[in-house]
Amino acid sequence: MSNVPLLQVKNLHTSFITDAGEVKAVNGISYNLDRGKVLGIVGESGSGKSVSAYSVMRILTDTGRVTQGEVLFNGEDILKYTPQQMQSFRGSRISMIFQDPMTCLNPVFTVGSQLREAIRIHTDRTKEQINARALEMLQLVGVNEPEKRLRQYPHELSGGMRQRVMIAMALACEPDILIADEPTTALDVTIQAQILELMQNLQKKMGMAIIMITHDLGVIADICDEIIVMYAGKVCERGTADEIFYNPRHEYTKGLIRSIPRVTEKHEKLVPIAGSPVDLLNLPKGCAFASRCECAMKICLTEQPEETWVNDSHIAACWNNVKRMYEESKGGEAR
């Protein structure tokens, strides 16, 4: 293996052309993902998590465009792929599962036919082999009575079952990367835990890398190697799970952490982040979070904070962090 990361996203910008104007959903995000690692993307609703994932898969709707940036898979820019190349790439190298398993399977085809299709597209196996593989995948994701399930239609399965089927479909061709877009948000809590555990187990077995998208920092705390916190289509903070949780530098991240319910401190009140999300049609000149930030300074309103290294496994884009680091370094000199 060379030392090129499996997936490199560089300065990705995505916009939607709408009647009201250009909706800038993703505004320059960058990250690397290494083979077999788990990357978490966290942010509140509307922060551009899904859109950034769709941009990587190139499954944006007609009105969406990647306006800038590169997506390198093993060093090759997949944004330059032809539609044909992209078809054979999707599902075989990068797969994706989605938020709402109730609506993500086609209601008029059987589970089996959808699963077999996913396998057939990317391999030249015989009918029997495809069938066997479909069965094997259902067993692998823990679907009971797999033979029967193959013949059933999606509406005959529960939500958790359907998400398992989605996972089976996504992993059938052993992709290098699985993008999971809020895979548990629509499920109830016990099922959520089961699905997360299943994904972890499968990751150990099959060794793919995972991009885990969620708006709930608590969900991904222990499964991610690295976490990206997004706001208004930008990366606020990026670092290892420990760094993000125990050494948050961006005011938005701090807010997110305060809003996680904790089992241990029962009497502590949950603190929601005040204010409403930023208008993506007219992004502010300075930091997008400034209007909701308790510690906003003058510079926050006029200039965009740059991504600064806190240490070699932690980046934050916040003027308060810059100030703090500056003071720390001065304090260090003074001592």
């Binding site: 078809q87 993500c104 086609n106 597209i121």
Partner: protein, 359 residues
């Protein structure tokens, strides 16, 4: 537990068999005519099917056929009795035959029997494909119906086929080119065709392409002469299907499962023609049953304009001639046809949309 339930069910089955056999035997002995006995047997079999078919579809089909039979029977009764309630009979003309001749004729056609018996006799005739004879022409009505239906079926069949195929194509094209020129052109014309009533369209077509330009002949048996009436018949349903397909296609293309299909790496053409179209078809199929009805009844106007001699023409003629057996015959025939169409479209609906639950 499971065994107990099964033996319970077996007991029910045996009981039902015995009961239906008894009803059947009693009916066989008491009912006066053979076809009524056969009808009874069929109905009993269907009821048995409704109760004891193990899969939903079988049960549903039995139930629907049963309901269809009952519907047709009721329609036949309503038509028969209302036709008889209208004052005047076959002999009330200016030049009525003598009383003796009337008596002989009444005897021959059972007109002297009570109305109930007449109805049973009529039903018996129907079951043997005998629709009585026309009081106007004296021909067998069944022959007239089948001859003219051949023409109507050909017209309606082509019109329906073309309307469905073109409607689906144009609708998909409009949806895939939303707000572009192709979409605008298609929507303009389909709005126009939905708005213009078929008799105006038919008259215009006849006037321009047949009489003025002479491109197509006056209606005859030649295939060419079918072109104009087929166009007149299919324009409005085609436009409707186009618009329906467009809306439902747009709706389906925005659904999550389409994104799933693309994320799987399915080819764009297959995403549209397999994953999207099959879903987009569902509302269209619900329309196709009534559309057949439209084509068959709408055809009365179009057929009259083009004087095709189809079933529609005969029906209208029957009414203006006060040819009661003719009206009855065509009404019952059309009703049967309609019920069958609806049944078929409902069954197709089930094939396309597995979520439909029959019970």
């Amino acid at each position: 537990m499971d065994n107990a339930a099964r033996s319970q069910k077996e007991k029910q089955l045996i009981a039902a068999c015995i009961i239906s056999l008894v009803i059947f035997a009693a009916g066989w002995l008491t009912l006066p005519i053979l076809s009524a006995k056969i009808l009874l047997a069929v109905v009993l079999l269907l009821i048995a099917g409704t109760l004891f078919f193990s899969n939903d579809t079988g049960r549903y089909v039995c139930k629907r056929i049963l309901l269809a039979l009952i519907t047709v029977l009721i329609i036949a009764a309503i038509t028969f009795f209302s036709m008889n309630a209208i004052p005047g009979g076959p002999f009330s003309k200016e030049k009525a035959p003598s009383a003796a001749v009337q008596a002989v004729l009444e005897e021959r056609f059972h007109l002297n029997e009570p109305l109930g018996t007449q109805f049973l006799l009529y039903l018996e005739g129907l079951m043997q494909g005998n629709f009585c004879i026309s009081t106007k022409t004296g021909r067998e009505i069944s022959t007239t119906i089948f001859e003219s239906f051949a023409i109507s079926a050909k017209l309606g069949g082509y019109a329906a086929l073309i309307a469905i195929v073109l409607g689906l194509c144009f609708g998909s094209i409009a949806a895939l080119n939303r707000a572009k020129t192709a979409d605008r052109v298609i929507i303009f014309f389909t709005t126009l065709f939905v708005a213009v009533p078929s008799f105006i369209m038919a008259t215009l077509l006849l006037l321009v392409f047949c009489l003025k330009l002479g491109w197509f002949p006056i209606f005859s048996t030649s295939n060419q002469s079918y072109v104009l009436p087929v166009i007149a018949l299919m324009l409005s349903p085609m436009s409707y299907i186009t618009r329906l397909t467009k809306t439902s296609m747009l709706d389906v293309l925005g659904q999550d499962y389409i994104r799933t299909a693309r994320a799987k790496g399915v080819k764009q053409s297959l995403v549209i023609f397999k994953h999207a179209l099959k879903n987009a078809l569902i509302p269209v199929i619900t329309y196709v049953g009534p559309m057949m009805a439209y084509i068959l009844t709408g055809s009365m106007v179009v057929e009259t304009v083009f004087t095709t001699g189809g079933l529609g023409t005969k029906f209208v003629q029957g009414i203006s001639n006060r040819d009661y057996p003719m009206i009855m015959g065509t009404t019952i025939f059309l009703a049967t046809l309609m019920v069958t169409m609806t049944l078929i479209s409902d069954l197709i609906y089930k094939v396309v949309d597995p979520r439909i639950n029959f019970d």
